[in-house]
């Protein structure tokens, strides 16, 4: 019979693991709530920005910004947002699968791809895959600042300005609810016009100070940055939700394992006692 002592140590070690996963679950749950709050807090900015950009599209300005003009694509820029840490289920893997599928589609159309990565997981993935990585922003933490993103976004926007890339996409996880996160690849540039706001159809235009070009440059740059920031914050909420679910499953599995082992342990103990008794009895009989 397997030693009762060994089973006991095994149970103990699984219990320790369970304690850790339980703690991680709770930490992830509270962090998720905060991340969701941040997600909500950054939404008005992106929405207001979207409104202004939509107004601008309606306003027929004398100057058409390159970010609003579609041009034939030869090379594509892709910003991939991943987590910094693992233990969050299939979150990153699903995103990478979705990204690779999109990349394959572009490759089939003879398009080349430049990648900017946010988060260490994406970096190591593209390092293994061998993509053309032009910018990296790892270790942004749970409370990222817009500041941390400016660099990576600017690399891509500069490339777009110079005509090195003709389209810019963003790949991140979208927070549906705690149980569901869906990986998505979405186009950032050129900005796709939104025709939902039909109220202001008549001709009018802003007064631009100092001039249309400078204002629009600043505005569209911030617009793209805010979209990427929104994506990042959303991805963090996804990470926490996924980790919470994964850790809950791990704790449950550990519980099942402990129950099974406890049964085996009890049997082993019982067998040992029976054996000892029969030995004593037979010993006494022999005397």
């Amino acid at each position: 019979m397997a030693g009762a002592k060994e089973i006991r140590t095994q149970i103990k070690s699984i219990k320790n693991t369970q304690k850790i996963t339980k703690a991680m679950e709770m930490v992830a749950a509270s962090k998720m709530r905060k991340a969701q709050d941040r997600m909500r807090a950054s939404r008005p900015y992106a929405e207001k920005m979207k409104n202004v950009v939509a107004h601008m599209g309606k306003a027929h300005p004398e100057y058409r910004h390159p970010y609003l003009i579609e041009r034939p694509a030869k090379r594509i820029g892709l910003i991939v947002i991943s987590t910094d840490r693992g233990l969050c289920g299939g979150l990153n893997i699903n995103l990478f699968k979705r990204t690779v599928a999109a990349m394959k589609q572009w490759r089939d159309q003879q398009l080349e791809i430049d990648v900017a990565v946010i988060g260490t997981k994406a970096m190591s993935f593209f390092k293994r895959l061998g993509g053309n990585v032009v910018a990296e922003a790892p270790h942004l933490g749970d409370m990222p600042k817009l500041e941390d993103l400016i660099g990576s976004v600017k690399v891509m926007l500069d490339a777009y300005d110079k005509g090195e890339i003709d389209r810019l996409y963003l790949a991140n996880n979208v927070f549906v609810n705690t149980m569901t996160q869906s990986p998505e690849v979405e186009q950032l540039l050129p900005v796709i016009g939104d025709d939902s706001d039909k109220q202001i159809a008549h001709h009018w235009d802003y007064i631009y100070e100092p001039d249309a070009k400078q204002v629009m440059d600043g505005l569209l740059m911030r617009y793209i940055e805010s979209l990427v920031y929104q994506g990042l914050v959303e991805n963090i909420a996804c990470e926490m939700a996924a980790r919470m679910v994964a850790m809950k499953a791990a704790s449950d599995n550990a519980g099942n394992l402990i129950d099974e082992l406890q049964l085996v342990y009890n049997k082993a103990r019982q067998a040992a006692i029976t054996q000892e008794l029969s030995e004593i009895v037979s010993g006494a009989a022999a005397v």
Binding site: P44, A116, A135, E147, G151, S152, I207, V215, R222, Y229
Partner: protein, 141 residues
């Protein structure tokens, strides 16, 4: 009824203020502007400075912005405030830094990435071992 303006002050990281006001003053790039209701549509950049919102009840609220964009519609004023200190060369430096990091990461054969690779190799080896064990079990039977 007195005419009012709807004012929204938002930054990328949080909503700062939302409400109605009689008048708004903002530090536009070409000089401070005062915005009364039914102002003509205007789009301008902001300098670092103070946005003053004159509330309906005559009291004023102050917000510091380090820059941003100001959008004016006849009855809606939107301040898209920056949270980060921005300047062309600062942004440039940030961009350079991320580029360098990517280049270094690709050139760097040791460190973080060997770890990831080793992990993948380990997973493969474990899977192979499992397969071998399973085969042995089957042949034994």
């Amino acid at each position: 009824m007195a005419m009012t303006l709807h004012v929204d002050i938002v930054s990328a990281e949080a909503e700062i203020f939302s409400g109605t006001a009689n008048m708004v003053f903002a530090p536009a790039e070409m000089g401070e502007v005062g915005i009364a209701p039914r102002h003509t549509p205007l789009l301008t950049r902001l300098k670092p400075g103070e946005v003053r919102v004159q509330m309906e009840g005559k009291d004023e609220q102050f917000f510091y912005v380090s820059g941003g964009i100001l959008e004016i519609q006849p009855h809606v004023v939107t301040v898209l405030a920056d949270t980060a200190l921005r300047a062309k060369d600062l942004d440039e430096a940030q961009a350079l830094r991320t580029k360098e990091r990517a280049e270094k990461a690709i050139a760097d054969k040791v460190g973080d990435f060997d770890y990831a690779k080793a992990q993948a190799e380990l997973a493969e080896a474990v899977a192979q071992l499992h397969a071998i064990q399973r085969m042995r079990k089957q042949t034994k039977r």
